[in-house]
Amino acid sequence: MSTTTLEKPAVSAPKKQKVMLCEGNEAAALAVALARPDMVAVYPITPQSSLVEHVAKLIADGKMDADIVDAEGEHSVLSVLQGGALAGARTYTATCGPGLAFMFEPYFRTSGMRLPIVMSIVTRDGITPQCVWGGHQDAMTVREVGWVQIYCETVQEVLDTTVMAFRIAEDHDVMLPVNICLDGNYLSYGTARVELPDQSDVDAFMGAKDVNWHVALDPLKPMAVDPLTGGAGGKGPATFVRYRKSQCRGMQNALSVIEAVHAEWAERFGRSYAPLVEEYRLDDAEFAIMTLGSMTGAAKDAVDEAREAGKKVGLIKIKTFSPFPVEALMRALSKVRALGVVDRSVGFRWNCGPMYQEVLGVLYRLAGQSGTVLPAMSFIGGLAGADITIGHFHRVIDATAALLDGPAPTEPVWLNEND
């Protein structure tokens, strides 16, 4: 499968990268500027407000040449970008929590029209009860809407992945909108040292822009965009099915495209990330814990400490959550005998974390190959902006280790419940 159809210049040594200190929201804004979008639409909402403020300032200072639309709400934010993309614009926005909920109607439609819009979700827990703090509930709630969703662990990863997101979205084999998920509060306001790539190097990486070759609103090539499909009788539903299958195919194609783009990024800029699933100290592990997003740093520290204490634990970090990296996960999970999954959101239907539910499906496939079912349990922590500390991860590690000798509990373990 081809990973990209655009010709790109040969890789040359990257120019010196500027070292700076910035928060995650600013890192995302700087990354967006490097990607040279034509149009940015914004509506401020916590905890992504400072992201759009940074974008607005970059444009006001002439450091980003984009048309900025201060729309009256997230519903229009995404709608403006859909119109822009249909006319050929590279587009970007950010949102979180209630803003994402309000955006849902056009959000669903973006993937159906195959518009390569890039949007940061500065993740936030759901309301109600009222809560303006971090958590993954917003992004998890829309996981079945056809957007690529990639979670970041560090501020540097936010910057790098945000640039890569445009390449992934616009790849002709993908043509799907992409969410870069950065943990509200932890990454959005967390300040860290980052290296900023040189613009000319990013230009070479990005290549030519071609966002509406497949669907356009242009008097020079008139077409009806998104005609009515479906209904009783053969032709309509068959058309609809073809659209849907094509979306699913684009989503599956994204797996290899994400890998290829990450590989190229590492080659050009010298920073590499596991594109789908990161395996940390897994090769000789007996059991593993699984993490998503910024919690991973504390989890890795806990794993290191547990290793020193003789516990044979490893860590699996999911970076790409949609499409769900089933094959990569099967390879990782085949190395261990028990698993603890830590979610930063809840799955109301199953009484467990949503990522845990997804993993159960992978375990079923794995069992089909190996004949044994891996015991796994669900942990839910970090809701409403709570810390998941190294201490919490020791609890996770010990409870998961217990699965090697005993039955898995059917109830999730709720971290932060009494602290």
């Binding site: 639309v69 009256e72 519903h75 709608s79 403006v80 119109g83 609103l217 008097p219 965009v225």
Partner: protein, 464 residues
């Protein structure tokens, strides 16, 4: 293609048989006051014209006059039957001329005419007929009742009829639908360098966006959500502007989406001055989905969600919509749009003039045109009555035609100083059939209140 011609139109309901038109014609053509020599003849219900008229004037219920006048027929029988070549239709003006030097006074032409429009003038022994006084007919301006009008809308046909119709033939509108007329004329005027947004409603339902791979439109067209038309179109327009290309962003939207669930994006786009032409086709409800009420549905109207019933839990009989309509065009005025206008397809010249100004305004800001669009199906009237209902709405001040710009304020383009009673409008359709006298009184009161309000607004805008 063929040509259309201007013509003298006659409204029998407004004629009281005063005969001023005949006097004016006789004066213009013969220098006398002899009605017998007038080329326009008003004929009462009785035989002898003048006697019958006198009687009829006495009895208002007998106001039943007819017009005998040359209709300048497209395929004139008088010309066909003339054995001398004395009658001929002028291809440019459409007027059928009479050449005395060729006429042999055989009077065959008077037999050929079905309208009594050509007759023997006994004083001269020749036939006489209307020649519309070179486009300035003497009879029309003297008619103080408004029964005679010189209709020049044929100019629209002649001027724009050759422009490409940008919709496919055979759009799936209801019989007598006003919206198809509106769509074809609007897009023809706006032209092919257009991106068209048609949110869910009658317009895409008729096939503009199309079904399963078909489309009814020759310009790029899309189906925004009911909620986001103005926002999506803004994105399209901004990108073309960024690319330096001159493309008109046009929305043809229903009243429901625009005034209810889509109002936020409409308001936001107007506030930001997005450069587009947003047209609302106001058929006063969600007609495409089964005739449900919208916030533009008028008080008292039956809709499928404001039904007529025997009673409800509160003990009140259900009598149609219980609230007045939202005045969307006035709300848009208060957004200080570059241009706001109300229009009606019963007044096409007015509509075309407004389209011209709206297109121009959309090059610098937000242009909004609100077109009242009677719905034969949802309003319950015969399909051949659409223009009549649209006209009655204006003649009763139920709908007022005006335009607004920040510089020029609000100006009436077709003021109605002496409006007909609103019942003339209400009785033209079935959706108001159930109205009680109290409800009619409420509607009449609101029409007058609204007329005063807009009038005051107009005067204030002009420092009055």
């Amino acid at each position: 293609m063929g040509r259309a011609y201007s013509t003298i139109a006659f409204d029998p309901a407004k004629c009281d048989g005063c005969g001023d038109c005949m006097t004016a014609c006789a004066q213009a053509k013969t220098g006398t006051d002899d009605w017998a020599r007038s080329r326009i003849q008003i004929v009462g219900r009785g035989n002898a014209a003048t006697d019958a008229m006198a009687n009829a004037i006495e009895d208002a219920t007998e106001k039943a006059f007819e017009l005998a006048l040359c209709r300048q027929c497209a395929d004139p029988k008088c010309v066909t039957v003339c054995p001398a070549g004395a009658l001929a239709k002028d291809g440019a003006s459409g007027v059928i001329g009479w050449d005395a030097s060729k006429c042999v006074d055989c009077l065959l032409c008077t037999v050929g005419c079905a309208y009594g429009g050509i007759a023997l003038e006994e004083a001269t022994g020749h036939v006489s007929k209307c020649d519309t006084c070179d486009g300035r007919p003497a009879c029309v301006p003297v008619c103080s009742k408004g029964a005679l009008t010189y209709v020049t809308t044929a100019n629209i046909y002649n001027e724009v009829g050759d422009w490409e119709d940008l919709f496919a033939p055979g759009l799936a509108g209801c019989q007598g639908c006003n919206t198809e007329l509106l769509m074809r004329h609007t897009l023809r005027r706006v032209g092919p360098d257009t991106v068209l947004a048609t949110p869910p409603g009658c317009v895409p339902g008729m096939g503009s966006v199309g079904f399963n791979g078909t489309t009814g439109t020759k310009v790029p067209v899309f189906h925004p959500l009911l909620t986001n038309t103005a926002a999506m179109l803004a994105g399209v327009k901004r990108q073309f502007k960024r690319m330096g290309r001159d493309v008109t962003a046009l929305a043809i939207a229903g009243d429901g989406g625009a005034s209810d669930v889509g109002f936020q994006s409409l308001s936001g786009a107007a506030e930001r001055g997005e450069q587009m032409l947003f047209m609302v086709v106001d058929n006063e409800g969600y007609m495409n989905t089964g005739m449900q009420r919208s916030s533009c549905t008028p008080y008292g109207a039956w809709t499928s969600t404001t039904p007529i019933g025997a009673g409800c839990a509160a003990g009140q009989p259900a009598q149609g919509k219980t609230q007045d309509a939202k005045n969307l065009p006035l709300l848009m005025v208060n957004h200080r749009c570059a241009y706001v206008a109300t229009a009606s397809t019963a007044y096409m010249e007015d509509l075309y003039a407004k389209l011209d100004r709206a297109i121009e305004a959309s090059k610098t800001g937000f242009a909004y045109v609100h077109v009242y669009s009677p719905c034969t199906t949802g309003w319950r009237f015969p399909s051949d009555q659409n223009m009549e209902v649209a006209r009655k709405a204006v003649e009763t001040n139920f709908v007022m035609l005006w335009e607004f710009t920040p510089d020029e304020g609000l100006n009436f383009t077709r003021p109605v100083d002496d409006p007909l009673p609103v019942t003339d409008y209400l009785k033209a359709m079935g959706r108001f059939r159930h109205l009680s006298p109290d409800q009619i009184e409420h509607i009449q009161g609101k029409v007058m209140e609204n007329a005063k309000f807009v009038q005051r607004f107009s005067e204030q805008a002009h420092g009055g």
